[in-house]
């Protein structure tokens, strides 16, 4: 597939904002977040790479974490977006929509011509 490389890059670039989007409002623990992302087709190819991503978001102050005991397994680290994270997500969402519109427009005009 010619576009595979492109989508790998796109996925890599957009994944952190998908993570931030899932962490708006409610805190989620790592495993739950990974499952939520994996349920969406094509978003995550290697689940393990989400953890380093979460660690980076925390270092950058875009998410914060807290530990909670769980009934069924080990203690869970819950992630939730900080105000900075929500702000970054809002900025990205606006840019992303503009970007998608532009690409769509060009793809469609190409198809017509």
């Amino acid at each position: 597939m010619v576009a595979e490389k492109v989508f790998t890059q796109l996925r890599r670039g957009t994944l952190e904002f998908c993570v931030l989007a899932l962490l708006q409002g409610e805190p989620r623990y790592g495993f739950e977040l990974v499952k939520a992302l994996s349920d969406v087709d094509g978003m995550v190819t290697t689940e393990g790479t989400i953890y380093p991503l979460l660690a980076r978001l925390r270092r950058e102050g875009l998410v914060e974490t807290s530990w909670q005991e769980s009934g069924s397994g080990p203690p869970r680290r819950y992630y939730t977006s900080t105000p900075e994270g929500s702000q970054a997500l809002a900025a990205f969402t606006a840019d992303w929509q503009r970007f998608c519109t532009s690409v769509d427009k060009i793809l469609q005009s190409g198809r017509r011509g």
């Binding site: 790592g30 495993f31 990974v34 290697t46 689940e47 393990g48 380093p52 991503l53 980076r56 069924s72």
Partner: protein
């Protein structure tokens, strides 16, 4: 064979490989990553993945350890620490130290060797100008000490030779110890 034992072995092998791949990460990041992976696997097990095949699938979905570590390395600047002395720096220092002793063998060889050593010393970026000067003056300084002992104290020739050697070796050791790799700007 016990199924639980088998899947434990799979998980252990996976975590071992991950730990080996993650060895280069800073300790804090490495430990956190390994903890996250262990927790993830424990959660998957608590959620019902118990058989060999199920565990294998959990690990496969996590991805290859090298990929995960590569993601953890993202944004980290890999700093390659340059060696303080490269082989040719040792050659330079060696020539400066040994050349004087070649005098009794051949004056030309000694002089040529010393001049090459001095040239290598000054073209190296491992020393400050002060230390390059000290390196250059090692031979004359050692000779001066021997000469002084001979002239002012009428020291036996052996004593002068030993003093000469001690000065030369001392300065050479100092030269080696004060070699510094230049700070990388990139």
């Amino acid at each position: 064979m016990n199924m639980e034992l088998d899947s434990n072995r799979l998980v252990d092998a996976y975590l071992d490989e991950l730990a080996a791949e993650a060895a280069a990460l800073p300790a804090g990041r490495r430990d956190e990553l390994l903890d996250d992976m262990k927790t993830h696997i424990a959660e998957a097990r608590a959620a019902g993945a118990t058989s060999d095949d199920e565990i294998r699938e959990v690990l496969q979905r996590l991805g290859r350890p090298s990929e995960i570590v590569a993601a953890a390395t993202d944004g980290l600047v890999q700093v390659e620490v340059p060696p303080r002395l490269r082989p040719w720096d040792f050659v330079a220092v060696g020539l400066l130290l040994v050349a004087p002793y070649l005098l009794s063998f051949s004056v030309i060889v000694a002089m040529v060797g010393w001049v090459i050593g001095v040239g290598m010393l000054w073209s190296s970026n491992r020393w400050t100008t002060i230390w390059k000067l000290i390196g250059t003056l090692t031979w004359p300084l050692g000779y001066a000490v021997a000469l002084a002992l001979d002239m002012f104290f009428q020291a036996p020739i052996q004593v002068s030779l030993v003093a000469d050697s001690l000065v030369a070796i001392g300065l050479t050791v100092a030269l080696v110890l004060n070699a510094r790799a230049p700070r990388q700007t990139s």
